[in-house]
Homo-oligomer: 437 residues x 2
Amino acid sequence: MSIAEVLAVGTELLLGQVLDTNSQFLSDELARLGIDCYYHTTVGDNKRRVGNLLKTALSRSEIVITSGGLGPTPDDLTMECIAEVMGAEMVMDEKILEVIRSFFSERGIVMPENNEKQALRPSGADLLPNPTGTAPGIIWTITPERLKEAGIESVPELKSKNRYIMTFPGVPSELKNMWATTVVDFLQSKIVGAAIFSVELKHFGIGESALAEKYADLLAGRNPTVAPYAGNGECRLRVTGKSDDMANAREMVAPLVAAIQERSGNYCYGLDNSTLESVVGDLLKSQGLMISSAESCTGGLLSKRLTDVAGSSEYISLNVVTYSNQAKQSVLGVSEKILNEFGAVSPECAEAMARGVRKISGADIGIGITGVAGPSGGTEEKPVGLVYLGLAMGDTYVGKKLSLPARLGRTEIRHRTANEALNMVRLQLLERVNVNV
Amino acid sequence: MSIAEVLAVGTELLLGQVLDTNSQFLSDELARLGIDCYYHTTVGDNKRRVGNLLKTALSRSEIVITSGGLGPTPDDLTMECIAEVMGAEMVMDEKILEVIRSFFSERGIVMPENNEKQALRPSGADLLPNPTGTAPGIIWTITPERLKEAGIESVPELKSKNRYIMTFPGVPSELKNMWATTVVDFLQSKIVGAAIFSVELKHFGIGESALAEKYADLLAGRNPTVAPYAGNGECRLRVTGKSDDMANAREMVAPLVAAIQERSGNYCYGLDNSTLESVVGDLLKSQGLMISSAESCTGGLLSKRLTDVAGSSEYISLNVVTYSNQAKQSVLGVSEKILNEFGAVSPECAEAMARGVRKISGADIGIGITGVAGPSGGTEEKPVGLVYLGLAMGDTYVGKKLSLPARLGRTEIRHRTANEALNMVRLQLLERVNVNV
């Protein structure tokens, strides 16, 4: 097990102006590779403090990953600090200078002189290409002898180990791209000494502890490993296989993934980057169906999430947000009787909304959502967090009642309601497949 | 200028399962109080590493703020580590134990034995109450002598200074609440030795450097200070006054805020926690107007943001997402001629959408949005990022064309489009006030 740590460099982070999401991304990726991460540290654009931290990091960790401080301004001093700590010269990479120059000239701009600096790197360090930006990084392999030469004391456990410094710009999209295109391979071949392949199985409608209990037998496995994660109102199981080569690692993981999918049934909604909305989109496309939603308390959130998916115009023609009773009546044809007798927050109204929007849009599926998102508007009978969902499709109608805790607050109540609506659609479309088979 | 640092404790952070937002919040708050923050460090639930970090932090910073590790499980060891580093006993606070017990009994649950632990704190430390959760924190004032006694070496600059340890649970809402109710006062009275009051002026439609240039004369001021910040597609100017008492600090800040509002004119859309959508909501309410939107490329995002604001049912009755040409025709009455001659992405269509939705909703203001959000669907003539906005109100019609760079991507293109739509409404409503006056 190798040990890594992450240094985020930038005064804007210490002033609270920018949220650091890179450290989380890097940690998650390191965990996937079975590399331990013991520290994240954030430090400002200060030469002495960055230098001291680098020394500490190199003494106690094998892999030191930095983000930020690679820009063209005098503030950007990560590379300089690394060179200084290692007692190395900065050398100009003429090829990189050419790449940076052409990055500008392609955009019809003369390269500012400042940017020359981005082609400098410590002598001995290898290039870490940045396909989408001007600031490349480095991957530097440092032997124990070289570390000692630089005057850096190692902790006893790591005395005989190489060190690796990897630098990234702070821009998250560039960092992710550089990670995927170069670093994963490097870490697998040079450090982990194995190919690692992992798949995440995303679950909805089951809690983390229930999931862990259900898969207690698998969680004890050593290779592939199975580990549960929770966050953002859903649970994931990550299956990770380790082997000499990638094809083998994939082969080890595949049957376990299939077995979990089988055992989880409809709790498992997809793999890796799937979202509830993307899975619903795929099901709609494959079945050639159109969907249409009528929202009240979620105010357009469901529509927004459905259309977050690129290409969603294939299965969405019309969604409406009928916030007032009047709009529910005039646009969706919800009857006055329903509104007077049961109220807007009622199973009857959710049903009329779902059927109504299906009718006016001509879609195959109509969704109705009505509830109390809060913070005000709740009553003893209909408290904040009470939501009714309806799904109309052909001769089928499915209704659902949610009683969410008011303390979750407006945003979370709306988010979870949209999750439940998407999941209702998913389950309905899956059932349809099964019936047709 | 005092020096603080932030320690986030939790293995889930180092595994990338949870994004740390507390460090950003704390840094922003420290900056407002004029307290420097030199480091954020994240460490796992490991006694030795937490202990070592605490020692390092206490040696180099006056204020050490921890988040996380106050829960009831054996993993939660922040308090224990602090006691150990300081060579202090853990003592049971019977009053707190009672508070925690009643927290459970009010919810009809017997307190699990584990939770007793949360009433323990190092002898000598004061309580930092947690009004919304079971885990209170501590504020511990440590004299230079006491620090020495604990065997912790101070950096020379801070040898004669007190140290302050403050602990918070990791739950962001609890941390924020504890900060606001207890810590701000403590820091102002005990550490800053002054009352600090700051106001943020939020700007839209002007870039950070233009803003800095416009206010170059003010940025040099010492008290109150004026500082520009950028992030999330908008700019802010923060005015901070420092005085013996809060009333004075407020008085110092107020005229400068008024002067900036005057000079910025409509670029400044609000103060502190205002958002474009909340400001639009306030204007609509004060003018007694209703709004209605017809979205295509934003797919419900504008509706979602308008209804993010609690109480928005006062000014919203109906919004529609007409994604297909057919829906634009049948629901909004956009003519076939417009769609055939100019296409769905055209100023003509945006206008017909705005007028159409105003008509069917009976609202005072109708908004139309149509464009190409990408990633596909762009043509040479109508590339990804081309968006037309329309606002219809009484006899007034205002149209706007956006040419956003395609490289921003679908999410950001939609976000910026919604920003522009909200800003159009804001400017229109402001103009109306001015005309009426």
